[in-house]
């Protein structure tokens, strides 16, 4: 410091070392422990992602010629080509009902099974089974079990419910089944854990005041459970939205289950049009974000407070 100015603050140089002053703001040598994780995140996530966004503005010559919109041709193709745009609806048609079904079916189940009973641990453990099956075995199993000659159709024919085998695989239904098989346990386990976070005495209090079970559910449990439901729905939706192997294996990947992930992969692996592949991939992320934003907005109107329990 040279001539001391009168306006004190800037010139009264703190006697503390720079290191000390930074430490007061929470910056010191131990922050280096974050560096490896940040480097990985930057190199493997941020950089490729930005690069991918850049790629979407470098359409292939063919697409540029077709739409003549310069750098935006990939996006024009995405919105103008019904073959591409339809895949958005096809994905939504699969993912939204499947996620809704998984969440809605989980609520009464989790509700009924929330108390302790014999075999609860066994049941929850069994629910982990679909993780062990994995998408590929689930697909193979559905093809065999629910196929035209499969046990399911055979059994239904034997007891005289149907006369022709039902077409349960290689179509929309097959993919829906596989989404339920992989998604339902997920939703159920999550909702169960949220439900156990609600203090039972709140419901007991409502009971003492004479609320019947419908009122208790609507006025007490549901509002407390709503944030958990929103989270569960989002996570289940994310899972269902990026469905890929089952849409190809038990679906009809040229027709009713031509989902965005398949379109993106075809552009990437079969047509090696990296620009278009990135466009579809990033639009996929955007569509999903829109759905998540809608759910979160709906959730923001709801009660956000303590559930009085462990949750």
């Amino acid at each position: 410091m040279t001539a001391p100015t009168i306006a004190g603050h800037k010139s009264t140089k703190s006697t503390a070392s720079l290191r000390h002053r930074l430490a007061e703001r929470g910056i010191d040598i131990s922050l280096l422990m974050l560096v490896p994780a940040l480097i990985f995140a930057l190199l493997l996530f941020v950089y490729p992602f930005s690069y991918g966004i850049g790629l979407t503005f470098q359409p292939s010559a063919a697409i540029q010629k077709q739409w003549g919109a310069g750098a935006f041709s990939n996006y024009v193709e995405f919105f103008k080509d019904p073959f591409v745009l339809n895949s958005v609806w096809l994905t939504m048609k699969l993912a939204l009902p499947a996620a809704l079904f998984n969440v809605l079916a989980s609520i009464p189940m989790a509700f009924k099974l929330r108390r302790r009973f014999r075999g609860k641990k066994f049941l929850t453990t069994l629910l982990v089974l679909p993780i062990a099956l994995g998408t590929v075995l689930t697909a193979q199993g559905l093809l065999i079990f629910a196929g035209r000659q499969g046990w399911l159709n055979r059994f239904l024919e034997q007891i005289g419910v149907i006369h022709q085998p039902l077409a349960l695989v290689n179509n929309y239904l097959g993919v829906f089944f596989s989404l339920v098989i992989s998604g339902f346990p997920f939703a159920f386990l999550l909702i169960s854990s949220y439900l156990s976070g609600i203090d039972p005495s709140i419901e007991a209090a409502a009971k003492t005041m004479g609320a019947n079970w419908i009122q208790r559910f609507r006025r007490v449990i549901l509002p407390l459970l709503a944030p958990g439901l929103a989270t569960t729905f989002i996570l289940t939706f994310v899972l269902a939205f990026s469905v890929f192997p089952s849409a190809r294996l038990v679906g009809d990947s040229m027709g009713s289950t031509r989902v965005m992930a398949i379109m993106a992969y075809r552009a990437f692996g079969e047509q090696t049009d990296y620009g278009m592949a990135s466009t579809i991939a990033i639009m996929m992320g955007l569509v999903e974000l829109v759905v998540i934003a809608v759910v979160l907005m709906w959730r923001s109107f709801l009660y956000k407070g303590s559930t009085g329990g462990k949750g």
């Binding site: 493997l44 590929v136 993106a264 992320g285």
Partner: protein, 307 residues
């Protein structure tokens, strides 16, 4: 239905004239055995789900041991030849080896990188903390394909396409955030006073880590590693984008066998591979469930105190 254990109940018994229902002859705290219709509905739903689940599993197992199975309830005969031919045709030993190498490498790197980061996020406040946390959250919230395709493009441009390195790197993208997200609340539970006491007794950062924190972190690290293992072995989308014949993990190899040109491989071959996959996965899960709860396997939610 379990009855309550014989704790002395403090509430007064209900006045006798008020109870005219079936519950009259029940001990307080005991539940009725006759179930409501809603209970039956729930059990029916659960039963239907499990029939599907078990049916799928058993039909694949039966198929993988069957000779030919077209029109009957069961195959005409049973044989183990599919396993032998899958083993030789696809080089199953190699595929399983690749799967294990990838999973191990991902676990080691993700834990080594993720745990220190989780420690800082749990213990310290610093500029841009929120932004950094969000950066670690993003890969978990996005569909894997969304960042997978640009990432795979970069890998191919770098000449890493179809290599084992690429498969490991790609799997690290969701795994590191996952370790951070699992470990942060775990580290928050550890009392900082323990570390401070060690520091006051003259231990430096390295000593604090090796002698104090590491032993305390072992259970959390184990849980996180097992979860990463389950996810990596089951990961299809990302691995599929960058793997090739020599670097396919088991899931991807089965998928390729099912979708091979000309209508895929013989069904029983695929079934036997799928059974090998499921047996491997069940083995992992049985070990996993000793350390983590089923809920943790699907998402990061705090443990309920029921157990």
């Amino acid at each position: 239905m379990t009855t309550q254990t014989s704790q002395p109940r403090t509430d007064p018994p209900a006045p006798a004239d008020a109870v005219k229902t079936r519950s009259a002859n029940r001990v307080p705290g005991q539940r009725s055995l006759a179930a409501a219709p809603s209970t039956w509905f729930v059990w029916a739903g659960t039963a239907a789900f499990f029939i599907f689940l078990i049916g799928i599993l058993i039909s694949v197992v039966v198929d993988s041991f069957g000779t030919s199975w077209f029109t009957n309830w069961l195959p005409e005969g049973f044989t183990a030849k599919w396993y032998a031919s899958a083993w030789s045709t696809f080089g199953m030993a190699h595929i399983i080896g690749v799967t294990l190498v990838v999973a191990l490498a991902v676990i080691i790197v993700a834990v080594a990188v993720g745990v220190p980061a989780a420690y800082i996020l749990a213990r310290r406040d610093f500029p841009f903390k929120k932004a950094i946390t969000l950066l670690f959250l993003l890969p978990v919230l996005m569909p894997p394909i969304t960042y997978g395709i640009p990432l795979a493009t970069v890998m191919y441009n770098l000449g890493l396409g179809r290599t084992l390195t690429a498969v490991i790197l790609v799997n690290l993208v969701p795994s590191i955030p996952f370790v951070i997200l699992t470990m942060t609340p775990f580290i928050e539970q550890i009392n900082p006073a323990i570390e401070n006491a060690a520091r006051m007794s003259g231990a430096n950062m390295r000593k604090v880590f090796t002698k104090i924190l590491f032993p305390l972190l072992v259970p959390g690290v184990l849980a996180a590693s097992i979860l990463v293992l389950v996810r990596t072995v089951g990961m299809f989308d990302l691995t599929f984008l960058v793997s090739g014949p020599d670097s396919d993990t088991l899931v991807v190899a089965i998928y390729r066998a099912m979708t091979a040109a000309g209508g895929g491989q013989i069904r029983q071959l695929v079934s036997s591979m799928a059974v090998v996959y499921t047996v491997t996965m069940m083995f992992i899960l049985i070990i996993a469930l000793r350390f983590v709860s089923p809920t943790q396997l699907v998402a990061r939610v705090k443990e309920s105190r029921e157990d």
